[in-house]
């Protein structure tokens, strides 16, 4: 969709609010020391067993372990990590789909738990999510006009009478033909469905979007179209993104700042250019060496040893030490703190404090 068409459908109001009320140092969204634990509690058999001394323990997964995350207005934060590292859980915590076990969530500097129900709902509406699977995340029995138009009517962004016109506007915005709004999701291709998912998120006029692997299921040529759409919408509507992805090439292209997670903890966080040029943490270095470059040169794959440990029994100390080529005795015992190694570049590695880098 050409740029001119975007400019026509800019909501000037959204831009104004974003510009005037947020000072540069108050983040739009902030998570303070949030943790999420999933507990599989004991069933009756285990409880009876324990009464006789079987010693069955509850299984606890620390999906997210005391993480601080700040997303400034207008920023694109890339969240990377391998499967099971807790990046999706963190995204769901940020958006409020999951309640944190510990910690606090703030919107424009105000704690969401301290707000009245009406205020919290209003703030909540400003945050939306775009899901990974464009097939599973759309109700197959609803027409596009209802998929996109239901939420804004319920939340009184528009009246029921305006729905058709409004959905048409939204579809235009994401580059879909509004005449297709009477169709069902199965009548669209993968790329078109991704656009429907984006239109649905945009329909309630959000300011903050969590994109959870939103382009992972798409072919390269379609992925490029959707990434361009994300950037166009960001410019037109002054959106802020938390962009969750395992694809470092995509993150490098789209993100201003990158946060790297490993087994529930942040191991490194830095502005994108810095992180990709001078990665500090051994895990980030290993990840970056695997970034696919399309250089037609046979390369020798140098694999990083070992596998991601089970989050049920994470290794003590630094979670990465069993796979780390630089592991020292201290790494097995002490959890490294996330410290600022250079301006705005944070890393959690003992090498930085011991001073034996390399």
């Amino acid at each position: 969709m050409p740029c001119a068409a975007f400019i026509r459908c800019i909501e000037p109001g959204v831009r104004m609010i974003a510009r005037t009320t947020v000072s540069s140092d108050t983040p739009l969204v902030e998570l303070r020391r949030v943790s999420k634990r999933f507990v599989k509690s004991l069933d009756i058999a285990a409880k009876i067993g324990n009464a006789f001394g079987a010693g069955v323990e509850e299984q606890v997964v620390h999906a997210v372990d005391r993480i601080d995350l700040r997303v400034a207005a207008g920023e694109v934060v890339g969240l990377v990590g391998e499967s099971g590292c807790g990046k999706s859980t963190l995204g769901r915590l940020a958006i409020g789909l999951l309640a944190p076990t510990e910690g606090e969530r703030l919107w424009r500097g105000a704690s969401l738990t301290g707000m009245s129900a009406a205020e919290a709902r209003k703030a909540q509406l400003k945050m939306q999510m775009i899901f990974q699977d464009p097939y599973a995340s759309l109700n197959p029995r609803l027409r596009v006009v209802d998929i996109v138009g239901e939420a804004p009517v319920v939340h009184r962004v528009i009246t029921a009478k305006q729905q058709v016109e409004y959905v048409g506007l939204m579809l235009n915005k994401v580059g879909l033909d509004p005449t297709l709004m009477r169709r069902y999701p199965h009548q669209f291709s993968g790329g078109q469905r991704a656009r429907i998912g984006i239109a649905r998120a945009l329909a309630v006029k959000p300011e903050f979007l969590v994109c959870d692997e939103s382009v992972a299921a798409l072919d390269v040529s379609i992925q490029a179209q959707v990434l361009n759409l994300f950037m166009d919408l960001k410019a037109a509507l002054n959106l802020t993104y938390l962009f969750i992805s395992h694809d470092l090439g995509v993150v490098q292209y789209i993100a201003d700042r990158v946060v790297v997670m490993y087994l529930g903890r942040v191991v490194e966080s830095a502005p994108a250019a810095k992180l990709f040029n001078q990665p500090n943490h051994p895990y980030t270095q290993a990840l970056l060496s695997e970034v696919g470059r399309v250089e037609p040169k046979k390369r020798t794959f140098v694999p990083i040893a070992g596998e991601i440990p089970s989050p049920l029994h994470p290794p003590p100390g630094c979670h990465f030490h069993p796979r780390c080529p630089h592991a020292m005795p201290v790494c097995r015992e002490v959890v490294p703190a996330l410290i600022e190694v250079s301006p705005r570049h944070y890393s959690a590695c003992h090498l930085n404090t011991v001073g034996t880098q390399g």
Partner: protein, 322 residues
């Protein structure tokens, strides 16, 4: 280039559906030599997986191979009986699928599955077969193979499961291994490990490898030769340096330009407009012409893949980039 182990000539696989004929594989020709890695690249629906399945005779009705030849070590696989083909499958040609959880039988231990695969093709006693299975696990880098042999597939992680699938493919020392997106479901660090193993294995065993994928970066690092498929046809073919370095077909160029890591941050990605056409009602002529910036009136005729020399950098386009 040494004599090819596998030569495919004019392969056509059509699906005769109620809605019409789907030409999933349409005039595909290529060859692979011993120890060579060929990357078969394309987007979803381009027919790359169907090409792989056709080679093994795994096409189910309403699909049928309607033309062409598949010659493996001088034997035309298409002329073989069902029984003859069964003897080839898993023996001379092996396949690794995308999802190892679907490939492995969840209710059988790994050793049972591996021994079965050996004894299906050769008369070997139980202990010798078990020994060979153990060696195969060692070869693909599985630690403590003796315990792992007695484990069930669900006790393995995704990466380890894929290694078991690769080990099974290697059991009978096949001449050709067809790998259909085997690392797509895996994490990047695990993908790196598998690619490393595959690179080592092809070098050591001399098997030819056909690597089917949508990921250009994997092919760039792994393949000797690359074939790019679009709408059931090979549109460009050549060495990896030629195809990915100096592509001639506008589609290949467009694909490479769409890869985010090939682009500068903040600059709009160069995208291919439109989407892949439905194979059901493919218009005559070049299937890419509606998305192509170089299309001219003569693209309404179907261009051939030229030059015909299998070693050449060939392109199916009337107006190639150079």
């Amino acid at each position: 280039m040494s004599a090819p182990v596998l030569a495919v000539e004019g392969l056509r696989t059509y699906f005769f559906t109620k809605a019409g004929i789907v030409k999933a594989v349409d005039d595909v020709s290529f060859s692979v030599a011993r120890g060579e890695v060929m990357g078969l690249v394309g987007e979803s629906g381009s027919g790359k997986s169907m090409t792989g399945y056709s080679l093994l005779g795994l096409i189910d009705p309403p699909g049928r191979i309607v033309g062409g030849s598949i010659v493996l070590n001088g034997v035309d696989l298409r002329a073989l009986s069902a029984e003859g083909l069964r003897r080839m499958r898993g023996n001379r040609v092996a396949m690794i699928f995308q999802d190892p959880m679907m490939t492995l039988n969840p209710v059988l231990r790994v050793d049972v599955q591996m021994i079965e695969a050996i004894q299906a093709h050769e008369k070997v006693d139980m202990s010798a077969a078990r020994q060979r299975a153990r060696e195969a696990l060692v070869k693909v880098g599985i630690p403590s193979p003796d315990e792992r042999l007695a484990a069930y597939p669900h006790q393995f992680s995704g990466g380890m499961r894929q290694r078991v699938a690769i080990a099974i493919a290697l059991l009978n020392h096949p001449d050709v291994i067809i790998a259909d997106e085997p690392t797509t479901a895996l994490d990047v660090t695990i993908q790196g490990q598998i690619l490393y193993e595959m690179q080592k294995l092809t070098r050591d065993t001399g098997a030819a490898l056909i690597w089917i994928t949508h990921d250009l970066s994997v092919v760039a690092g792994l393949a000797d030769r690359v074939s790019v498929m679009y709408a059931g046809r090979i549109v460009e073919q050549g060495t990896a340096e030629e195809v990915l370095g100096v592509p001639r077909h506008p589609y290949t160029r467009g694909l490479l330009d769409s890869v985010p890591s090939n682009n500068v941050r903040g600059v709009r990605l160069k995208q291919i407009p439109g989407m892949t056409p439905s194979l059901l009602d493919l218009p005559p002529g070049c299937p890419f012409r509606e998305r192509c910036a170089r299309a001219k009136p003569d693209c309404a005729k179907s261009p051939p893949l030229l030059p015909q020399d299998p070693a050449a950098h060939a392109v199916r386009c009337f107006h190639p980039l150079h």
